[in-house]
């Protein structure tokens, strides 16, 4: 039957054309396409691997940073604590010194007041002596006729004297 009888001419053309197609496509299509696909696949695999590696490194870096941060925080806390301690010590010492100074100044002042008071009293004493003497002198000089007059005179003298 015609339907299942191979035909020489068609067989010839089919074989020749298919062979040419196979060679041309292999050389100019499949080889470049397959090698491009392969290199793309490889580059994607490499990129993925590198991305995973970068991610791991980043994670490690983050952990390191965290550790560093914790350490830094602890150090900071210690520093602050130390500083506070030192500050309070200094404050305490300053207060103590101030009180001591104040006490010294106070005692010095009292001493000088005491001295001046003594000097003033001495001066008053000598002045009272002098006054008494001058009054006595004047009384002696004036004639003592009348007791009352004498007393008035004494009082007038006394008024003249201002006690300083």
């Amino acid at each position: 039957m015609n339907l299942i009888t191979p035909d020489l001419g068609l067989f010839f053309w089919q074989t020749v054309i298919f062979l040419i197609l196979l060679l041309v496509l292999t050389r100019f299509a499949w080889k470049p396409i397959l090698s491009a696909l392969k290199s793309r696949q490889e580059s994607i695999e490499l990129s993925l691997k590198e991305a995973a590696k970068a991610r791991r490194e980043l994670e490690k870096l983050r952990q390191d940073n965290e550790k560093l941060l914790i350490k830094a925080k602890a150090e900071r806390d210690q520093l602050i604590k130390d500083a506070l301690n030192t500050a309070s010590e200094i404050k305490e010492k300053a207060r103590f010194d101030a009180i001591k100074d104040a006490n010294k100044i106070l005692s010095d002042a009292q001493q000088s007041i005491e001295k001046q008071k003594e000097a003033a009293l001495l001066e008053i004493k000598s002045m009272v002596g002098d006054l008494s003497l001058s009054i006595a002198e004047k009384l002696i000089r004036t004639k003592m006729t009348d007791d009352i007059a004498q007393r008035q005179l004494m009082e007038s003298y006394l008024k003249e004297i201002k006690l300083n």
């Binding site: 015609n2 001419g9 067989f11 053309w13 396409i33």
Partner: protein
């Protein structure tokens, strides 16, 4: 499949079937409408021809004459157009001592002459067209890979890249093996796309039925036969001529097993040839028969049934076009894989060990 593509396919198929109906009606009228002619009408559409016949409207035949190339010992190479072999009414006439016979083949008038026909027939023309399309498509795609390899595929490249990867990773790699698949991938890709494209082209209205032609499938299966046996490993030949794991009396004195294995070399490609031919031809015959039903029932009222069934069959054929290309490629890959396989030790030895192991475990 997107909704738009589906609607497109349905429309395309409806137009196609309408077109075929018109041709069929005109042709059947011309043929007189008896049942033998209906068979002839169907067979005519799935067979090769020396002219590309598109339609017959009334008495006007719309055909594309194709070159006839005849080779004979006494006259050398003769080339003329096929239109010379028919007259104005499209009845066969004698030209340069050649004429059409009943099977529409060109034979010499003098029966003692031996002539070889290398004509550019309808199928050869279709072959050229399909090869042109294949080259256009895949050389264009190959060019796109030359620039930036790492950029995402676009356009036609994105359409075929998954298919190429499917053939490489789904057909070649698992069946031929990691070590050797790369050498055979180009062949498998060529076979797959050649069959697929031609299957689809064969579904077009008025197109040639190339992959449903036994000569074409014979040639293709011979390629697989040659590729398989050229690349056959030592183990492959040993398996054929001294099959391991078979009792000695199967091989000597009568080489029963080697004979069976040797026949197997040829039955494998033979099955490839028949499968592709039968599937594609059968699909075409079914579609043609569904359309011919209108003329058998002699009623236009039957055409909706023809159209619905024809549409369904055409959709199925789109699927079959892919499946048959895939099956041919897959089986070729399996045969090549069987031929290039290298055993580290024979199966028999393995089996013995396995049995011993299972006994121990049991």
């Amino acid at each position: 499949m997107s909704k738009r593509a589906f609607i497109f396919l349905v429309r395309f198929n409806l137009i196609f079937i309408f077109f075929i109906c018109c041709i069929g009606q005109a042709e059947l009228k011309a043929a007189g409408g008896n049942s033998d002619n209906k068979t002839a009408f169907i067979l005519h559409h799935i067979q090769d021809a020396h002219e590309w016949h598109f339609a017959t409207i009334g008495d006007i035949h719309i055909t594309l004459p194709l070159p006839v190339i005849l080779v004979s010992a006494d006259r050398g190479i003769e080339v003329f157009m096929s239109s010379k072999l028919v007259d104005k009414e499209h009845k066969p006439v004698e030209f340069k001592g050649y004429r059409y016979n009943e099977e529409h083949k060109i034979i010499p008038v003098e029966s003692d002459r031996k002539v070889y026909d290398f004509s550019i027939t309808k199928n050869v023309t279709s072959l050229f067209i399909s090869v042109f399309i294949l080259l256009m498509v895949f050389l264009t795609i190959a060019k796109k890979y030359k620039g930036n390899v790492n950029s995402a595929p676009r356009g036609i490249q994105a359409l075929f890249e998954p298919v190429i990867i499917f053939i490489r990773d789904g057909v070649a790699r698992p069946n031929i093996g990691e070590k050797k698949y790369e050498a055979f991938t180009p062949y498998l890709l060529t076979v797959f796309f050649f069959i697929w494209f031609n299957n689809l082209l064969g579904l077009l209205p008025g197109a040639a039925n190339l992959t449903g032609n036994i000569t074409v499938t014979l040639s293709l299966s011979l390629f697989t036969l040659v590729v398989t046996n050229i690349s056959g490993s030592k183990d492959y030949w040993k398996h054929i001529f001294n099959t391991p794991g078979v009792p000695w009396w199967m091989k000597y004195p009568i080489p029963l097993m080697p004979l069976v294995e040797f026949i197997g070399i040829f039955t494998k490609p033979f099955s490839l040839m028949l499968r592709l031919f039968a599937n594609i031809t059968a699909g075409h015959i079914i579609i043609m028969s569904l359309i011919a039903l209108v003329f058998i029932f002699q009623s236009v009222a039957f055409s909706p049934v023809s159209i619905i069934f024809g549409l369904f069959m055409n959709m199925v054929e789109l699927l079959v076009a892919f499946i048959q290309a895939f099956v041919f490629t897959l089986l070729s890959a399996i045969y090549i894989g069987m031929a290039v396989e290298e055993h580290e030790h024979d199966h028999y030895h393995d089996l013995e060990q396995e049995e011993a192991h299972s006994l121990e475990v049991g």
